[in-house]
């Protein structure tokens, strides 16, 4: 089993569209895929489950992959999180690195 920790980067969090993208990608792999957030664990191949995590921007998730293609699954899914589900790209085009620090 592989465990990975990721942070949600995209603005809208795991709402409908990103949740659908995640589930679609996860379903391509044979491995089981679970997501844990604050002690709650859901099946990462279920859109209803993923949405009910209420994972917003900045939340940290633990991804668990278990099965014959777990390495490929982990690589692809972590990449999707890192890309901000494509939302970051859209944002950059309009407003280069539109998000900035929240510190001041």
């Amino acid at each position: 089993m592989i465990k990975k920790e990721v942070e949600i980067k995209n603005r809208t969090g795991l709402h409908t569209r990103p949740a659908a993208m995640l589930v679609k990608l996860a379903s391509k792999f044979k491995s089981d895929f679970f997501i844990e957030k604050n002690g709650m664990e859901i099946n990462g191949k279920s859109i209803i489950g993923v949405m009910s995590l209420a994972a917003e921007q900045g939340s940290k998730l633990i991804l668990k992959f278990d099965g014959e293609d777990e390495e490929e699954a982990a690589e692809a899914i972590v990449k999707l999180f890192e890309s901000g589900f494509g939302e970051l790209e859209e944002l950059k085009e309009e407003n280069k690195d539109g998000r900035s620090s929240k510190d001041n």
Binding site: H15, T16, K45, I47, S52, E56, D97, G98, S100
Partner: protein
């Protein structure tokens, strides 16, 4: 009809008036009885479940198509989300598994399994997810109904006002295929799905009536007033006639508005003016556009501050960007927080005289952290070049110079992070304090535009708190002192070749229009619904007459003389126009 007129008050959710016969829509929640099944029934039960999923998918696809046709794909997203949820293979497999092992009927398992997630979502603090919880619950009921092979009524033949405890988004869309005159519901608020969809469909609606279903029976005559948010059950004949008259007037007005919307705010002798809207919330942009606003002349940002909490830069940026994108290519003038210190820092900041105290830009300059955060958010929203920044409560030239320094700091902070914004963003000040008005000549050399805030300018010039009833009659919009200040501000701006806007209530007062046109005010920024009126007046006068009238109006010594004179001139010029 038992002849007893009854008025019920609710929340105005979608504007318009409807008079008609009520149709009470009672959607029974599916009855779910938990029933044990035998081993040989398991396959049948799974089959029932899968067929219900397919049926629900085909229903929702139809609703989605209809919704896209009627209100566009953005509004139809709710149904897309529901369709995606129906495709949740994990959930489906789990339910099948449970039917096999637990051996209970399909509907009880569906109910039990889905309800867990509904509860999760409901308990989250996230508003979006709470809405999604309703969608999921609604979806669950749809699947269960299809398992039980029940039908929901969604068609009726004649025109009706639908009365229900609550309506799902699907109901709201489906009923619109019929001649639905309006929606009346016990539950819901201005931002609930029914309300949003009703507005998108342009169907009048009053929601949150609490007990409408108790007082209204199918067949009752009902008046629905979506402007006031009231419903009248079994109205008297005279009231029906009044409302019919009102509907006629509204239809006539709408026709005129539609015509006016396409036309420029131009005097008969060809002088053009710009009409803009004042808004308080991003959603009001639609209303502004509908009324023919060319842009937003005042976007108040105070609504963002909630319970003394000022949102961070990203959150502010999103709000400002929403307005900038919606109104594009029109412009939006974003005003920095114009709020008293006693309102932002409720818990520890008290003042005896807040209107002469720590408010507007005075707070911004004392709290650069707040000011810079807001400036960066506004700058980031300016990428398309249609955003301007405006500062409230400016009293001295020193303040203007300090403000400009902060704008430069905010810009360099963004540049450091490689964030794009409009380098040439225009900076303006509100002229609402007499000292600024009197220093307008000098002030005009420091900024890109002025906006006259008449409400405060009058209050500070005449030393009268208009919220104070005892002295309210001294609050005189047409006091010669006020008019002379306005004249001086406009002249001073034009001498420095910068435009002047007015965003106080005077800009939307038909009686003031000729005067302001004559003084050469460049832009009028008013509440959206005043725009057509002002446009109509501008289109019915000649600039050269307006100049003559304004000159004369400025000679008078008292407000009543000014008003009498303007009334007379307005009547002469536009006889068909009623004030």
């Amino acid at each position: 009809m038992d002849g007893h007129q009854k008025i019920i008050e609710g929340i105005p959710a979608s504007p318009g008036i409807a008079i008609g016969t009520a149709l009470k829509y009672e959607k029974l929640k599916p009855k779910i009885t938990k029933k044990e099944i035998k081993e040989e029934e398991v396959e049948v039960e799974i089959e029932r479940f899968l067929r219900a999923i397919e049926k629900s998918k085909s229903e929702l696809s139809k609703i989605l198509k209809l919704a896209i046709e009627r209100i566009g794909s953005e509004g139809a997203q709710i149904f897309e989300a529901q369709l995606l949820m129906l495709d949740d293979k994990t959930m489906i497999d789990k339910i099948i598994e449970r039917i096999k092992t637990e051996k209970f009927n399909a509907e009880s398992i569906v109910n039990d399994e889905v309800e867990k997630y509904v509860k999760f979502m409901q308990s989250s603090g996230d508003e979006y997810l709470k809405e999604r919880a309703n969608d999921l619950e609604d979806l669950k009921n749809r699947v269960i109904r299809n398992i039980q092979q029940e039908k929901w009524l969604s068609r009726f033949d004649t025109s009706r006002i639908v009365v229900a405890e609550n309506l799902t988004p699907a109901d709201t869309i489906l009923f619109s295929r019929n001649q639905v005159l309006g929606y009346i519901t016990d539950l819901g608020g201005y931002t609930s799905h029914t309300a949003i969809l009703a507005r998108a469909l342009k169907i009048p609606a009053v929601v949150g009536l609490k007990e409408a279903t108790k007082f209204i029976k199918t067949g009752d005559t009902v008046i629905l007033d979506g402007y006031k948010g009231i419903v009248i059950v079994n109205p008297d004949q005279s009231l029906i006639e009044q409302y019919q008259e009102k509907m006629k007037r509204i239809a006539e007005l709408e026709r005129k508005l539609e015509q006016l919307k396409q036309l420029p705010a131009e005097t008969m002798d060809g002088k053009k003016f710009t009409l803009l809207a004042n808004i308080e919330f991003p959603d009001e942009v639609d209303e502004a556009i509908e009324n023919g606003a060319e842009g937003i002349g005042l976007f108040r940002t105070e609504y963002i501050i909630n319970n003394s909490i000022i949102p961070d830069e990203d959150e502010q940026f999103e709000e400002y960007l929403r307005v900038a994108e919606k109104i594009y290519p029109g412009k939006v003038v974003i005003r920095t927080f114009d709020i008293g210190g006693d309102k932002i820092f409720k818990d520890y900041h008290k003042e005896d005289n807040p209107f002469l105290g720590w408010r507007g830009i005075r707070i911004g300059l004392d709290r650069p952290d707040i000011l810079l955060t807001q400036l960066r958010a506004i700058l980031r929203a300016s990428i398309k070049g249609n955003v301007m920044i405006m500062f409230p409560m400016v009293t001295t030239i020193d303040e203007v110079r300090e403000i400009k320094k902060y704008v430069e700091i905010a810009k360099s902070q963004l540049r450091e992070k490689n964030v794009k914004f409009d380098e040439n963003i225009k900076i303006g000040v509100m002229i609402e304090v007499p000292s600024s008005a009197l220093m307008a000549k000098e002030m005009a050399r420091e900024v890109d535009f002025f906006s006259i805030g008449t409400n405060d300018l009058i209050q500070y010039t005449l030393a009268v708190d208009r919220g104070n009833e005892t002295v309210a009659k001294i609050f005189q919009e047409f006091h010669p002192a006020v008019l002379r200040l306005i004249q001086f501000v406009i002249e001073s701006a034009h001498r420095s070749k910068i435009p002047v806007s007015m965003c106080g209530e005077m800009a939307g007062d038909p009686l003031a229009t000729i005067l302001l046109v004559g003084l050469g005010l460049d832009e009028f920024s008013t509440v959206p619904k005043s725009i057509p009126k002002i446009k109509q007046i501008i289109r019915s006068i000649k600039f050269k007459d307006a100049k003559r009238i304004s000159k004369r109006a400025l000679i008078f010594k008292t407000q009543s003389e000014v008003i009498d004179y303007l009334r007379k001139e307005l009547k002469d010029l536009i006889s068909e126009f009623e004030i």
